[in-house]
């Protein structure tokens, strides 16, 4: 079973260490605008939600790519952009339902999370363990689905 990034927004304090670490991997400078993980800030609710590529099993970015420039890393399950094949058509960025495929302004090529080859810098750098790199385990799914159902039932009034 491969490992996945498990993000726990309730633990996030919005410090942006993950963005710093990710941008460092991408660019060699501390440049959050180039980070592939983004912290979504909901200041009014004091809520912070880091999000990045989910490395979907059925990855629409891959399906959409006309040149097969996105491939699966066998070791980690990450979907990788192969620079030499990418023609900069941006189709993957449109296909991704989560908005986690970016393009680089300087090369116009796709850029997305590659799990740092199996040691994601964002997880390492998080001071509050809001980002974990853990075995893909779906035991959370049952309680989560129950909670979503409950919220839905409450929202529609029983």
């Amino acid at each position: 079973m491969s490992k996945v990034l498990n993000i726990l927004p309730e633990k996030c304090t919005g410090c942006m260490q993950c963005e710093l670490a990710c941008s460092w991997v991408q660019t060699g400078t501390f440049q959050p605008s180039k980070s592939l993980i983004r912290v979504n800030v909901f200041d009014e609710q004091a809520s912070y939600a880091p999000y990045t590529c989910l490395q979907c099993d059925e990855a629409w970015c891959m399906t959409a790519c006309p040149t097969n420039a996105i491939a699966t890393d066998r070791a980690t399950g990450a979907k990788l952009v192969i620079d030499q094949l990418c023609i900069g058509c941006h189709l993957c960025t449109i296909a991704c339902p989560f908005g986690t495929v970016f393009t680089l302004p300087e090369s116009d090529k796709a850029s997305k999370c590659h799990l740092c080859g199996g040691a994601p810098a964002c997880a390492t750098s998080c001071p509050t363990d809001a980002i974990e790199y853990v075995e893909a385990d779906q035991s959370w799914f049952g309680p989560w689905a129950a909670k979503v159902t409950e919220n839905y039932v409450n929202a529609v009034g029983g």
């Binding site: 942006m16 400078t29 501390f30 440049q31 180039k34 509050t128």
Partner: protein, 625 residues
Amino acid sequence: MNPGEVEAGFSKKEMDMGGWTGKILRVNLTTGTAVVEAIPESWMKDYIGGRGLAAKYLLDEVDPKVDPLSPENKLIFATGPLTGTPVPCGARYMVVTKGALTNAITTSNSGGHWGPELKFAGYDFVICEGKAPRPSYIFIYDDRVEVRDASQYWGKGVNDTEDGLRDELGIPGLRVACIGPAGENLVKFACIMNDKHRAAGRSGVGTVMGSKNLKAIAVRGTGGVNIADPEAFMKGVWRMRAEMKDSPGRKSFAELGTAATIDMTQAMGGLPTRNFQQGQFELYENLNGNTIRETRLVANKACFACTIACGRVSQLGDAADKFLVNMHPRNWRHAGEGPEYETAWALGADTGVGDLDAVLKANWLCNDLGMDPISMGATLAAAMELYQDGTITDQHVELPLNFGSSEALIRMTEATAYREGFGNELAEGSKRMGEKLGNPDVHMGTKGQEYPAYDPRGFQGMGVAYATCNRGGCHLRAWTPGPETTGVFDPHETAGKAEWVAAEQNRTTAHDNTGVCLFVGAANGPLEKFVDCISAATGVSYSYDDVLRIGERTWNIERLFNLRAGLTKADDSLPKRLLKEAHKAGPSAGVTVDLNAMLPVYYSERGWDPEGVPTASKLAELGLA
């Protein structure tokens, strides 16, 4: 050159150094133009950055005798080389100017995300000069710099201003530093607020910004911060983080916030109450870290790169609708940041208010109106004392200013920001208010700036720290309660205090220059432990002694500014109450501050003459001659 154009005054040559961007953005508000300048390399080395380098610029470019609210004064926003890097808490920027409250140099520090964003936009400093002919704001988006019309934001609170600018500009990741109505109305202790709840709070930096018709600086930066020696740098960062992680200081900050301090100062009899008339507050438990955590805390909130997250967002609960606010137009929001220790004290114990609802609401008002809650609470406390002794009567005020009155706290906070009724007197600060009403001794402060939440009769060292601080009453330059409660010093004795304060001032000053939050020091990450990070980031090899020397150089530069502004030894003083009146009860009973025993020692420790003037040999030693 057209307004809004940037003159290319800086070659894009890559520097060998890192940390610094090496660039200053100089904005002339009078003409609405901006130029980019290079910072002399030797200056960066000699001052590290931030507070020190900005003080150097201020001393060089501004006549210290200038009226702080005149166009000739300059307003400098300064980051350090570690701002915007992953060094824990590398989030800080400094606002350096001649303070409206103090008529002395001021160096007001703030966290949040604004400082790092300025670095990402490619600038270490923004220097604001002149005065805009109409309400304006500065918009910085990497190389694009414009001075734009802000008339639609003039009069609006901090929340509305930031939201409005985000809507107008439509740029994700935009960061805003702005003033509220208090700054516009030239309230003498107005703040500059960034990220809505973070403040460069003290000495009236927001007043200076208001006097320049500058409502806000909105920044978005997409660039990065380079590091000279990345490997050594990250090694230092990880070592620091490991050492801080489980330290009791970090845990206490994260769990209880700064308000945890209230238990300690209460226990020492050093929690100034009712304008320093008592040293303990019987309702302190209503305001302490634990109560806030149990009843109000929504979530911890970190500044940029912070691994502590002492900041907290608090639910206002019933406070939202409990107190009437006349003029504040805003639909009241139900959560806000704070209260921090100083705020909980100033708006709570110092005014005798033990109602957390009222303190939270006053805190929120101060943040949205853009006022320093310390000076606000302390000035109101002084007015309450004058009301108590009959100097202020019901003819002066619209409602009774009794100690403990939540209604007075809320209403006067609002009235002060708008200079309405007696608020017009409060807006001048307690020194000017006391002088006008014939009782200057009611001002509990130094150089016109009200003290924060440590009674020097409970912590003797704070006496000399307050008296000698370059920006007036301030706890952030030498925090003596640390050694005074851990057995290093007897809290009530004077021995060793002056020497310690002088050395500590150098240390905290150098720390401020780097752009790292002072709180890492309390969380097992003091300056000494990240000198290697400064060196690795900048590519300049510093030793700890070099860094301390830079702190001392900075301190002396600030002192020189103040002396040239006309301040003298007489301004290194404490109010009569601290020198003559002892508390009658509690752990600090019977203690008064013996400043006469400490001040001469302090001067000689600093290498200054008996009048507090740096000697020629000291200046030569520091390269300032």
